[in-house]
Symmetry: D2
Subunit: 408 residues, 4 copies
């Protein structure tokens, strides 16, 4: 008899205690350089400027979401739902890789460097590359990821309004930020899921947990993801990259690693995301973080100023409002900012007027269905007056302007 225990890799996770890697193939995906890259991309970008604990990575989040998927599949199997081994691996891999195409400080990058290509499209491109490398073993995962797999509940679990992605990131982000208001009973909700007509449902006694989940999510948006200072930080980095690209296209050569340089010098839009997988796989937070310091001493006064602000946390002041700003006020503020600097570009990089939006729940994209005790299935808004009411207030925009805090 062989006493050596089988490999059973266990990862310490402060959120769930332990995450066991459930399969050899999943371990191989984790070990792949494409996935290892996610170790170097923070889940919450620069939110640590407000919440100093929020340095966790997309690598960690992807492992957490995979863990929840594993738990969810066990629960469904225990309830008699048929899930084949191939489907199990497919669902696990789809979740593990769902963010593999995320770039550094993603929103900024998406709108300047890989304009027009969403991180979902990039994730898919990465998955297709990996599928070739692993001889088609990601076929089912890709179908699930694209929402095309016949057993729809697997797609719902990967991408829907109650998917393991959201369950993990809300739980994890509230843990690392220390915003206890966002804590979600992810494990309870998962124990209460079931399947009816191939769709994911939540049993009736989970209604309060689902309400709590949607309310916590909304709270995390206003208190964390769309926190005034977080918005200010994100637009600062976005403006920096916009300036760098502008200078680059004008012929300047600015400090950067080769992957970042590739995207900075690219004029034409990317047409198929697949072509950039190799270069993109070399890109992470460190490229931007290291360059910021060099750029902070650049000869271009706009670039150096913006970079010094972010390095030393002298962020732009933000005014956030439930109502649109009046044209008069905007004109007046623009004038004031203009007077602070010189040159045409000054205003463009030192004044921002924009808006953010927070949707508590949408019936469109993979809605949350409740399985009543009598066997009926209803949308959460049909059984929860709270969510129905909150839906009225939400979908609201908030408006904001950003300008140098020296303006007072």
């Amino acid at each position: 008899m062989n006493n050596t225990p089988p490999k059973y890799k266990i990862i310490n996770d402060p959120v769930y205690g332990f995450i066991s890697i459930p399969d050899r193939f999943i371990q191989e995906l984790i070990d792949h350089p494409y996935f290892q890259r996610l170790r170097r991309i923070k889940q919450m970008g620069l939110a640590h400027y407000v919440y100093p604990g929020a340095h966790h990575t997309r690598f960690h989040h992807a492992l957490g979401a995979m863990y929840l998927m594993d738990e969810a599949l066990k629960v469904l199997k225990d309830k008699g739902v048929s899930i084949t081994d191939d489907e199990r691996l497919g669902a696990l891999a789809a979740v593990l890789l769902h963010d593999v195409g995320h770039g550094p400080f993603s929103h900024a990058l998406e709108s300047t460097l890989v304009k027009g290509v969403s991180h979902e499209a990039l994730s898919l491109a990465f998955m297709q590359e990996l599928n070739e490398e692993f001889d088609g073993k990601l076929h089912t995962a890709i179908q699930i990821f694209k929402g095309e797999y016949p057993k729809t509940f697997l797609c719902n679990l990967v991408s829907g309004q109650l998917d393991v992605d959201r369950l993990d990131y809300l739980r994890r982000d509230s843990f690392y930020t220390g915003v206890s208001e966002g804590v979600v009973g992810a494990e309870r909700i998962i124990k209460l899921i079931s399947v009816v007509d191939n769709q994911l449902v939540v049993e009736e006694k989970g209604i309060y947990s689902v309400e709590k989940f949607l309310i916590a999510r909304r709270l995390m948006y206003w208190q964390v993801y769309l926190h005034k200072t977080v918005i200010s930080t994100e637009f600062l980095i976005l403006n920096i990259l916009r300036r760098v690209k502008e200078l680059t296209l004008k012929g300047r050569t600015l400090f950067s690693g080769r992957a970042l340089a590739y995207f900075l010098h690219r004029r034409e839009p990317i047409t198929t995301p697949r072509e950039i997988v190799t270069m993109f796989s070399m890109l992470d937070d460190a490229d931007v973080a290291a360059s910021l310091k060099e750029w902070s001493q650049d000869e271009d006064p706009i670039l150096s100023d913006l970079c010094q602000r972010i390095l030393n946390r002298r962020l732009f002041k933000i005014e956030l409002s439930n109502l649109p700003f009046s044209d008069e006020y905007l004109a007046q503020m623009r004038q004031k900012v203009e007077a602070m600097g010189t040159g045409d570009d000054f205003l463009s990089y030192h004044f921002t007027h924009n808006e953010v939006e927070n949707t508590i729940y949408s019936t469109k994209n993979s809605p949350i269905r409740i399985l009543l005790k009598n066997g009926e299935v209803k949308d959460i808004t049909e059984v929860s007056e709270t969510i129905r009411l909150l839906k009225q207030v939400e979908n609201q925009k908030k408006y904001f302007i950003l300008y140098p805090r020296e303006l007072g």
Copy 2:
């Protein structure tokens, strides 16, 4: 009457709930670029290769240690210990800045880039710079930091075997790694401190908590700080920087930001740490992290190989042993490694033989004193048989060798 509430900055901290900035001057220190730099230096270097949650920064740790100091001073004041406002600010500032001289991946840096200068000496240099900038307001803090302040208990709290530095990092590191075995009752210990003859003491009923603290610390060393894979990772980065420096001094120009370049090109040892404060203040984890990717495609096969290993987590295999390795075994392993590569340097960068040490408790450096109910003060080893016994086993060395895992 003015209703506007006074400024009372509160930072969310997942470990203690909230950290209030206790003073305007402390806030100014936090806002200073020297301190903001710590946002970009991970507390645990590359330990996240083993514990994926361990991305917290020295910035966060310094805030946490300052919070514990604030609590400790309140407890002592409540017990009738006299502490002036100047001493309070001094102690808070000393703790806040105790690690301000830490570099990226510190051990590696200390032994290659700023050879011969400890991070404590660098922290002191930073504090002296800041003292000038703030017109001498750090005078008391510096005395406390240097251990020269007459009220010794303030020095004990900043640097001793039961200081707020250790209390915070053990608590914080166990939190972020998820190693619950390392959780320390920091807040309980702090409630039980007192002062006798200007020395810090712990009341008798805190003996078990102190035992637990020392045992947890020892456990964190073996299970986390000196974890096999963590050692392997640290020596890999150390070897990479050693190689980079070697190539640079031979005349190669390798990719790097200007601050890192400054240290790579420096031939002569640093004599006074103060001269390098400005350059050092520009250096952080991102410099190394971004350069690694460029170096991974360098023409030097040793450098590119080492960098690819760390990027894709193909670490060296480590053998860790309580006993020294025999000369025969070492010779045999060296021979095997030599056979794998070519060139004189191959062995030097692909085989490491070294040792680590873990001391549970030392009576030398600011020992832990227990205040008995009868008023006597004794060393912890005099009242705890457990610590006395464990001291016997500890102070032990462990020996290790590192070599490419392809060797099998």
Copy 3:
């Protein structure tokens, strides 16, 4: 110099870590038999039938609320609010004793045994007794408790919609039940309180925390306090005591200790609560719990049946509805229940039709005021659309009927 540390009693509390007794007089109140009695009264009655962890006591809750008061007073003092030593002790004592008049399984007792006397009136009677015993030292505490003290914010903290009572019980009950959805950021809210025109206010940046508090409270009501099975259990114990009193007044002598006997035999209503303090102070959960077992073997079939049900957790079935039950349905159910037993009383004890109510927020009783950044003070409903909307849905009743589960 005397080395013996001053007394500084510290109590382990899983919720806040540690609770320090802040004063000698407070310690004397805690040591008094009236307060020690609270060790024997569960905070949540029989809710442990649903949440097996919920065995914490009113003793523990009172300590927790006192701890939060201590924290709140420190915060206010730090913000420059004037609070004298006498006011501090008064506020601490008022909170400590706010529930001292609670009886076992309180709602049942209040409506059968001490009919017409609220637990607040009883708490006041206890406080007046203690005031005499302690030579008037509770004078300020009593004024604060009665809401008559001129510094209204102290009264708000003891009894209002954001008082330390609610903050502690929500936090503590969610902790012991394991209903993480009810976790409230009590410590954050307390850090954000202030005082304007003698009224308690919350600073603007605490709006989300207040929203979260109100939503968590509402959730705890529906999910815990008004949980179907909890209601069923409470009405069972109420019916048991009602039966016991009825039999006693008919001349039967049933097993009980002397304090319980006193209340069971009392025919006339209590006019001044003070007269019963001595007897009441001998009454706790154990009286009812021990008697239940004896009564479960009583010759009266109704009493023995009801007691066996509660002992062995064969509770009545409950139907809970948002809409009132139709008269037809009620008549039909009554008929079915009647057919199960014999005797006039059977129906009265085996069928219950009643309602429960849950108010998310009321502007009447010590409302929640928000201090805006511009210095204005507004009601939470004026600044939070969420609370305004949720107020619409709430204040709703739910209707329920209870009957033996054998009915199917």
Copy 4:
């Protein structure tokens, strides 16, 4: 298709989050009056006099231990260990019922009321009764409980030095007392168990966790279970019951319910535990708690004095010492106590001299075996120098005397 979800009972547990009842038969055992009785017996007796949160019950602990068993069996199955359905149910039931024979304030009861019968023997008697009632379905559970089942690892998990009983009670008791030093990584240890030659083993990488478990256990003994005040409380209740029994056997009839009366009046020792199952099943904490209050007003001055002390927490003073007390000191203290009262019995009930013992680890009873990476199995003391050393200090006795605190 039937949409109604299968029953899948989930219990909120603050320690593990949720406990799912894994089987219909297990649910029936939980619903049985014998098991429901455990709701009324506190796990830690009167330890809440020191740790006010410690009111959790044996009911809750038994559920927790069953949960850990369920997890352990899943881990072993995943590692290829063969476990039949019958064995699974047997192991779950054995753990669930392992404490079903515990009486109120157990140590006191065992040495006075059911003299000579251990709670293990009583648990077995209960299980045999239940086995008849459930037509032999507990056959395997009983074999496992008795340690006679051939697959020894199942017996090890129920009763050994690393059984799920200990894992749960250490975790749970540290949770409810708030003694964070006792927190044990129960879930990690369970993930690392395996089976070799039918014996339970722990994989090598679990050594530190096992060390931590043994150290935490030792700490919980000294800091909680054998805390001075806890000892004082336990001996007080023991003396009260001893006095009550003495008075009863002398012919007095004291207040009590019928089950307690049965044991108080019993002169002859119990020979087979089975004969008392029915009466014992009616006995719980409430009997003692309610009677204490009546006895506190008894005519016997010794009894009333002892009862008033426990009700109002005026406990005996305790002197605890590592060394035996000298005969002179004991004689002197006895004399002092004698002088305080009158009558022959006074001394016997107001002075106690006794000892307690704490064993960190014993190699005799189901030792802890470590499975090394090379396949060898060794005792923990052979691979952990820490445990080997701590074993030397432990197994030590501590001596104590108890006397009225008025003595000063």
